[in-house]
């Protein structure tokens, strides 16, 4: 029985740890499928985390906080799209600029608003759900029925995105724009417009990932609280070969490995802690082979210039 409870606790914690990475990875998948790399996703998550806290405190509602975080994320995505799609700037450079913009905006914004006192304000955050009253069931309860609402929405978003890519006209358009933009353009598709939209929506998802950290998993914002999760999300996208469901799986694997190392660390005080801390990263790298066979979008990172180079 103890083993079941242990596994249940590890899986439940793994999902909590993975959710922000899953959301950011979904956003990045959408952008990259349309042909735009955004390495500044960490900055978007930080802005999302800050805006979510500010919005929740100001309105008293975590849902309003989440909505505002997604809007702010979309705005950050649009900034990246403006530089990399409209102005055709080097995408990696624009992304790095976006990262620093996000670090600065979130930190400075926090100081101007809630951070003046130097201690955390009371934040009306999300509470875990109790779906059908089954969260207390030992074993599967905490995993399947006791998660945050955002966790269920994340899985729904992943399924919706996978369905969009496999079975809808919209999915075909996004893929065409990312694979062979010249052909898409000759078929009458506004390549830049599609890319702009994908990067913006991707930003909104990354903003939601930040919001999960600051108003669901924990209640509060601290500078740099995403702690590299945005970069892990990019790694997940590549390891998952640009498939939304595989990206979720890789992020989940990472989260579960992290939850496991946390517990094993406390149990084995004799082993150097660094060994445990790197374990999730090793697992993520080992997951390279997993995932669908989808190859990298052919036009990834290349701005579209009608009429040739």
């Amino acid at each position: 029985m103890d083993e079941i409870l242990f596994v249940s606790a590890v899986l439940a914690a793994g999902i909590r740890l993975a959710t922000p990475i899953m959301l950011a990875a979904l956003g990045e998948t959408l952008g990259q499928r349309s042909g735009v790399i955004n390495v500044g996703i960490e900055g978007i998550m930080l802005v999302g985390a800050f805006v979510a806290v500010l919005g929740a405190v100001e309105t008293g509602s975590p849902w309003a906080g989440l909505a505002l975080a997604m809007l702010a994320g979309a705005a950050m995505g649009a900034i990246h799209a403006y530089f990399s799609v409209v102005l055709k700037a080097e995408q990696i450079v624009a992304g790095i600029a976006l990262l620093f913009l996000g670090i600065g905006l979130s930190g400075y914004g926090y100081r101007l608003t809630l951070g003046a006192s130097g201690t955390a304000a009371a934040i009306p955050g999300f509470r875990p759900l109790d779906v059908l009253g089954l969260a207390g069931v030992p074993g599967i309860g905490p995993i399947l029925f006791g998660q945050q609402a955002l966790v269920y929405l994340t899985f729904a978003a992943a399924i919706a995105m996978a369905w969009m890519f496999s079975s809808t006209r919209l999915g075909v358009i996004v893929k065409a724009v990312g694979e062979y933009p010249a052909a898409a353009a000759s078929a009458g598709i506004g390549v830049d417009r599609v890319r702009f939209a994908c990067v913006s929506v991707g930003g909104a998802l990354a903003g939601a990932g930040g919001a999960f950290l600051s108003i669901a998993h924990l209640w509060g914002f601290v500078e740099g609280m995403t702690a590299g999760r945005g970069f892990l999300a990019i790694a997940c996208v590549v390891l998952a070969r640009w498939s939304p469901l595989a990206a979720i799986a890789v992020a989940l694997l990472f989260g579960i490995a992290d939850a496991l190392q946390i517990r094993v660390q406390s149990m084995m005080p004799g082993v150097p802690y660094q060994f445990f801390v790197i374990a999730p990263y090793l697992v993520a790298i080992a997951a390279v082979g997993i995932g669908s066979r989808t190859a990298m979008p052919a036009a990834l990172g290349k701005p579209f210039r009608p009429g040739g180079r």
Partner: protein, 318 residues
């Protein structure tokens, strides 16, 4: 003779005048943001208080990466600052590398133990003693006999605290089981919270944490699980009055006040100053509402422990 006296008087006035007018310029270099609520906030509060107390000009630099430290220190020294304070043990090595080039600047490393002629001093707090107090209190409040410590990264001061935490707990109740784990980051509050949750799942009912922002994660996890916590560094009871029994105070602002004061009155020496309970470097915050939650006998044991610590009667401090 008259001219000599007049000249001497003039000289004396000039010396006194310059000594008086020479506002000392001090740079405080921080590894993180001043809004972290613990380590960096404490230093900022210390220098803010010193600004009011002494005639000084202050520059505070935040978020300094390890790779930037040497350049940052050099730039302040070249700019003619009288004192540059590096807040964190990671400043020790860069300071030792460059201090000889700038004999007119005094370098102070906070929470480290290094010193060098003629211009490197360090101020450290007895973190192990603070951990010892925290462990003792935690053991007395625990009903399960299991307590937990979540450290950010095992830097020397956090390791000392960890060791003290275990020894203090065992002094009060030898059968106490101490769980300990590290986050691997100072700012990852989500992982800090998850580690705390895992310790609570393993039966810990009093937890504590050391580091920077990660401490917030531990307090929140304890709050959600309705177990008790002991704060570190700041008296943080206001953060979660139902959760935080007390705080093992590590008064890093006292270090800064002392460093500035000694610079101004000229008594700062190139040596290591280690501040314990008698210097105000560490302490134990009041128990407030939690005083009535333990027996009078246990309360007396805590008071006696604090007294013994002040009188140097404890032999197994880290």
């Amino acid at each position: 003779m008259k001219t000599f006296l007049a000249a001497a008087a003039l000289a004396a006035v000039m010396i006194a005048g310059t000594a008086h007018a020479a506002t000392k310029r001090i740079a405080l270099v921080l590894p993180g943001p001043i809004t972290d609520g613990t380590f960096n906030s404490a230093a900022n509060k210390g220098i803010e208080a010193a600004k009011k107390k002494y005639d000084i000009d202050v520059v505070v630099r935040e978020n300094t990466d390890f790779a930037q430290i040497e350049d940052v220190l050099r730039s302040y020294a070249e700019d003619g600052f009288d004192m540059v304070i590096g807040h964190g043990f990671q400043f020790a090595e860069p300071v030792m590398n460059i201090h000889a080039d700038y004999p007119k600047t005094f370098f102070v490393v906070n929470t480290a133990q290094v010193a060098a002629e003629p211009n490197v001093a360090s101020f450290d707090n007895r973190w192990g003693d603070a951990g010892y107090l925290a462990g003792a209190v935690a053991a007395l409040y625990s009903k399960t006999g299991k307590i937990g410590h979540v450290g950010a990264i095992p830097v020397p001061v956090i390791e000392q605290y960890n060791l003290g935490f275990e020894r203090g707990a065992k002094r009060m109740k030898p059968e106490t089981q101490v769980l300990s784990a590290y986050v691997g980051s100072f700012s990852d509050i989500a992982r800090g919270a998850e580690i705390t949750t895992s310790q609570i799942e393993q039966g810990a009912d009093v937890v504590t944490s050391t580091g920077n922002e990660n401490v917030i994660g531990t307090i929140q996890a304890a709050q959600k699980a309705k177990v008790l916590a002991i704060g570190t560094a700041f008296d943080s009871a206001a953060m979660a009055p139902e959760t935080i029994i007390t705080t093992a105070l590590i008064n890093m602002d006292v270090n800064i006040d002392l460093a500035v004061g000694k610079l101004i009155d000229g008594t700062l020496k190139p040596e290591t100053y280690v501040l314990g309970i008698n210097d105000g470097g560490i302490g134990l915050a009041p128990l407030r509402g939690f005083e009535s939650k333990i027996s009078a006998e246990d309360k007396a044991r805590i008071d006696q422990l604090v007294k013994d610590l002040a009188e140097g009667k404890i032999t197994d401090l880290p």
